[in-house]
């Protein structure tokens, strides 16, 4: 019988540099938060027309990627693919770290982060936000138990039920996250039943891309035993499939919008006339985040290349961030259609597309999520044996 042994990472010079970068990113985000909270949100690019900005889009990216980072563990535990099993521990940890980072960025983006205990003690169950708070808590508990069981009984059959529960829960979690962007009847672009499945598809591709990058980063920091190359063939095929599935859902979202007369104005805005949004959609998501990685993953000249796999993962993540920005900001920038078919003048809130230019502070707040996730991964990997050594025969 084959079994896998794991080891803790060593704090090599490169690992320490990574640790410092993550710590600085987190610290910079906290300083930006202090600046924004002490002055008020007027120092950001956000406004009454665009109340959710870049930091929320980045926090959402982290939360969506958290769900998908669990892919590798799920495939091993739920679908029995043994090739992925050595990476299950890291997959589990990365999922927890990304969720913690994303939620922290979301917290410091609040108008009143000091009210966190109110959010944890007062629940309005008609709000998908409130329900999500419980779902996120459940994710920490279920996936945390899954990780503990994996550590305690790596060969035991008890792992599978926890793996199945985690798999189902992460589907629920991404459904909840997608619903936040899909239930707003009065906002074109944020009222679609396809949002939850779209977010699930995105979580699968983005989460796997982030997982590949983190694994490669750990290898680069001196942990050669991580053995990305051993599984890169399977991961390459899986990532390409998930990118294609995400694209299909994005295509469906926009085609449904175009087919609906009430949504056509918004679709024209986001795909053609909206300035930065069409640019990010076509250039960022479609060209950089979909077409390029598919070529890098599937075209024969690139198929065996480790660099191409990493570039594809990076392009997928960057393109996914561009899409997340479009999905979050464009529906706010598009003017509210309070008087359908009428010409409205007099107040900028109702008369035209709202301007939104993110500030450095918002970028730093958003980066806090990634920085914190990186810190958690590096510190946990130093303390807990997470990375696989070569398989051995029993």
């Amino acid at each position: 019988m084959k079994y896998v042994t794991y080891r803790r990472i060593l704090f090599s010079r490169r690992a320490l540099i990574g640790l410092v970068i993550c710590a600085l990113a987190t610290l910079a985000g906290l300083l930006a938060t202090w600046h924004i909270e002490s002055n008020g949100h007027y120092v950001t690019g956000m406004s009454n027309a665009v109340p959710w900005g870049l930091s929320l889009a980045m926090a959402t990216f982290c939360i969506v990627a958290a769900s998908g980072a669990l892919n590798v563990a799920s495939i091993a535990s739920v679908f029995g693919k043994q090739d992925y099993k050595p990476f299950s521990r890291l997959s589990c940890l990365l999922a927890l770290a990304l969720l913690a980072g994303g939620l922290f960025a979301l917290l410091i983006d609040l108008g009143r982060p000091d009210q966190i205990f109110t959010a944890l003690t007062h629940f309005n169950f008609t709000s998908v936000f409130a329900v999500n708070i419980l779902i996120y808590t459940g994710f920490f508990i279920i996936v945390g138990l899954y990780g503990i069981v994996m550590l305690a009984a790596p060969q035991g059959g008890i792992v599978r039920p926890f793996g199945v529960a985690s798999f189902l829960w992460r589907l629920i979690m991404t459904t909840g996250t997608g619903s936040v962007f899909g239930v707003l009847a009065g906002r074109g672009g944020m009222h679609s039943a396809i949002m939850p499945p779209l977010f699930i598809a995105l979580s699968l591709s983005l989460g796997l891309a982030v997982f590949v990058l983190v694994l490669a980063g750990l290898e680069y920091s001196g942990q050669r035993q991580a053995r990305l190359d051993a599984a890169s063939g399977r991961i390459r095929g899986l990532l390409a499939t998930l990118i294609a599935v995400s694209f299909y859902m994005v295509l469906a979202l926009n085609l449904i919008g175009i087919a609906s007369p009430a949504q056509r104005g918004y679709e024209a805005f986001v795909l053609c006339t909206g300035g930065v949004y069409p640019l990010l959609f076509w250039g960022g998501y479609l060209a950089l985040g979909t077409v390029l990685p598919l070529i890098l993953l599937l075209a024969p000249p690139f198929r065996g290349s480790r660099v191409c796999l990493l570039l594809a993962a990076l392009a997928t993540a960057v393109g996914g961030m561009a899409l997340m920005y479009v999905l979050t900001i464009a529906p706010q920038a598009y003017p509210a259609d309070i008087f359908p078919g009428m010409l409205v003048q007099g107040n900028p809130l109702y008369t035209g597309p709202a301007s939104y230019v993110p500030t450095i502070g918002e970028l730093l707040v958003g980066l806090t999520g990634f920085g914190l996730a990186g810190l958690i991964v590096l510190l946990a990997a130093r303390l807990i044996p997470l990375l696989p050594l070569a398989e051995q025969e029993d």
């Binding site: 007027y42 009210q115 309005n124 008609t126 709000s127 708070i133 009847a185 009428m342």
Partner: protein, 251 residues
């Protein structure tokens, strides 16, 4: 005239101010009878749900260059102009709406529509965004965490966010940096038997374009006019059931 009758005609055919005067006189008489609380007035708003306070905006009377309602709202609620229109608090916004087919032009104020099915209330995670039994929608600043989901959810963009320190806080309208906010129909004034500031200011300016009253009472002037004029709701297709209705514009 009893206080009850006055509740039905908060802004009557003649002048809103006269109506209010009559109301106060009636209220006083009601209170003097039992001989207690001589200086207090009965609250127009009770929370038992007997009323549903609403506004009827007659766009035929609303004048384009008049900002009386906007100014009165700002003065009453301590909405300071910081010279930053994108983030400054504005609970009432005036717009001009032109029908491209007919060329018909209408001016109107847009404020919180105090929806029966308020989206802001549904999406608020903590219950800070709430609807009272008398139909008024407002924000409990003690519970608001500043997530701004209500601002996102409002189909009318009527909910805002306090982007900076409140420099001149109003004693009757609590606001706080980092919280959501919006028109509360001057609930504090209503509870003292006064009309909302915008209604009073509009009447004082001589336009009388905004009528305040109880939509639930079929004998009230507002309810009668809503029926008589076929007053329309903004984005009626969304079924949010607003308490603010408009006359004289093809919505």
């Amino acid at each position: 005239m009893s206080a009850n009758e006055n509740r039905k005609t908060a802004c009557a055919g003649e002048s809103c101010i006269q109506s209010r005067r009559r109301f106060l006189l009636g209220a006083g008489a009601t209170l003097l009878a039992p001989g207690v609380l001589l200086t207090a007035r009965p609250a127009l708003a009770d929370e038992a749900g007997r009323q549903r306070w609403g506004l009827l905006i007659d766009t035929r009377k609303c004048v384009g260059d008049c900002t009386a309602c906007v100014d009165a709202c700002a003065a009453t609620n301590g909405l300071t102009d910081n010279g930053r229109p994108a983030t400054d608090a504005q609970w009432i916004r005036k717009v001009q709406v032109t029908d491209p087919g007919t060329g018909h032009v209408a001016h109107m104020p847009i404020m919180c529509q105090h929806c029966g099915n308020a989206q802001c209330v549904e999406v608020c995670p903590t219950g800070a965004s709430l609807k009272r039994a008398d139909g008024i929608v407002l924000v409990d600043k003690h519970l608001c965490i500043g997530c701004r989901y209500c601002v996102m959810a409002c189909p009318f963009k009527a909910r805002g966010f306090t982007h900076e320190e409140v420099k001149e806080p109003s004693p009757i309208s609590p606001r706080g940096k980092g919280s959501a906010e919006g028109c509360n129909m001057c609930v504090q004034r209503i509870s003292k038997g006064q009309l909302p500031a915008c209604v009073e200011a509009c009447a004082r300016s001589g336009h009388e374009a905004i009528l305040f009253g109880d939509l639930n009472d079929p004998t009230s002037l507002i309810a009668k006019r809503v029926v008589a004029f076929g007053a329309a709701a903004l984005r009626a297709d969304l079924r949010t059931d607003p308490s603010v209705r408009y006359v004289g514009v093809n919505l």
